[in-house]
Amino acid sequence: MTALERSRPSAPRTPLTWARGGGLSTLVFLLPLLFVFGIFSWKPIVEALVMSLQKTNLVTPATFVGLDNFAKVLSDPQLGTAVLNTGWFALLALVFGYPIPLVAAVLMSEVRRGRGLFSALAYLPVVVPPVVAVLLWKFFYDASPTGVFNTILGWAGIPPQPWLQTAATAMPSLVLEATWAAAGGTVIIYLAALTSVAPDLYDAAEIDGAGIWHKIWHVTLPQLRGVLLVTLILQVLGTAQVFLEPFLFTGGGPAGSTMTILLLIYKYAFQNSLGGDYGAATALSVLLAIVLALLSLLYLRATKRWSTE
């Protein structure tokens, strides 16, 4: 504030003027939002931060233990396994799960008739409640020769696969289901983005003699760049927090091969019936949140240049 401004004669700003100025109604309209966010988002975050420094079973009074929980979590031999498994899931999901919706969306946008039907079909798995979908797939993944998938493979002369029942095949099986379940949502986003690509660009490319691949490579993909970058970081954040699939399909097995970071957090908190280690669970959650926040920041910095926005 400059001296000139300060010297300007003006009524002093009091609560009364603030209220007269409409501050009260602003506050009244803001209150529900503040209340909801405060109670359901910010309070738990602050409480988690506090709890990560405590030893508590949530029944008897908590005691502060400094950074002990963090030390414990970081020295747990399971953490390495969980990080590697989560990375493996994220990589597989990226390799298989990321391109599939894009390809599907581009193909669907080329279809002249029945596009609505295709989008509905693609989106259908998203509508199925995730737990139901996993239980259904668990049934499909029956490793006996009479299992659903193994029967289908048998028609093609392929021997029965162990699916969830060996360390090597369990994770790819989880990724397969996760991709099936999530692809529909991303397809819809891409389809929406594709409609915003100006048709003139395709016409121009056509006049220049571009075929379909050239049109996709030189027009579609560059035009979708912004959306692609956002869905990529969303996918990385999502897969780093994978929980549902390993929890319901395998419980982290066989022999720890699908133990992910979130599942480890869950086990800290709930594996022992006598009151879990909530301090360790929140400590690992806080660490994961920090890592993901840093990752997002780096990613946004690195991709700012390429973004269309």
């Binding site: 100025g21 009244v28 066989p254 908190a269 022992n272 019936s273």
Partner: protein, 469 residues
Amino acid sequence: MRAAGPRPFTHRKAQTMKSPRRATALAVVGLASVGLLSACAPAGDSGKTKLTVASLIPGTEQAAFDAFDARVAEFEKANPDIDVEGVEYEWTAETFTTQLAGGTLPDVYRIPLTDAKTLIANGQLADITAEVQALPYYDKFNPSVFEAVQGDGGKIYGIPREAYGMGLEYNRALFEEAGLDPDQPPTTWDEVREYAKTIAEKTGQAGYMQMTQGNTGGWQLTAATVARGGRMEEQDGDSWTVTADNDATREALQFLKDLRWTDNSMGSNFLFDWGGINQAFAAGQIGMYTGGSDLFTSLTRENNLDPDAYGLAAIPITEDPDAAVMGGGTLNVVNVKASDAVKAAAVKWIDFYDVSKLVDEDAAVADAKILADSDQAVGTPSLPIFDQATLDTSRGWIADYINVPQDQVAFFAEGNQGRTIVGEPPAHTQELYAALDVVVQAVLTDQNADIDALLAKVNTDVQALIDAD
């Protein structure tokens, strides 16, 4: 900071808007707050003590709930000042922790015998000493079972509900299909292996399987260890040492390895928790598995098992002098937040619903009649929470109502005569079981699993937890 100058247009408009709209908005907010406040006020007091009690496992068939409701009605008739509300309840390590921490457990609920000591020490169970001491049979409980519910100074925190021994569950229909005599269940582990191989070859189903998930893999491996004379934990003064790398455990794992990789008699699916293996067994996909002797109730009620297909034999034990049957049990306990009135009502309910039927003929008959009328299991093999004579007498009272095919489960009692019952390892039980889950899963899914290294890791990891106490 904005100096107090001309206010933005919108604000000025708001200021002049001494309008009904603003008044309405404020009134709505005000009313909402009143509504919230009134929602917090206690409900009308009818003068009755309201008691929430654990009823049955979620998913139980309606007839069982009807039987439960009939018992509740009977109880409320005898105790008009108590209003009982049943809450579906299934003890699993994970859901129990959540309910305990969230404070959502009913007033009366059930816990495994092994958990009581720690919950008492943590101040998480209600002290019901006075109420229990008023029960006529309070000093007649089996001392080794009753010890579990006692805290410092002889205070009492629970009431034993039932005790079971580990048995060998088998599917008589699969036995017959494989050309085996269902009235000649295996009595040694070698026979179990032989039978499993035959079942797998003849029927294409898993001949033998064991639980592997959600801490039950460790639980059953411990039972298999005890049956071979080993122990997972040994006491030395006040401290406990984890001894997972004992010879009996190795033998039990080698047994699984032989069945899985040499005989291929364990089917193709290896991830089973308690509910999962019961379901697969009831569906005829598993020939034999080890489990509690009281499983029949659950198998018929939740998994629709054909009673004719059920067989229960004693778990095979080896010649080792320490070889024994691992047992377990459940306790009824009362929520630590219960008031004195609720505690009194709770003990009355526990006495009525679970215990009096073991010591009082009228109560026994009333309970058995309701269960039998609604097609629920009566006469499931169990171990005594008082003494064997009391159990036998109570069985005599309800002989007319017993509907569990006794000739199909008699092998359990016959085979267990003269055997020692051993409790579960007490130190960090659930974490020990969780660590052993990994070992069992590794042996069943990886032909080259290094049993020695896996067990050594369990020793180190769980011992670290015990030492940290």
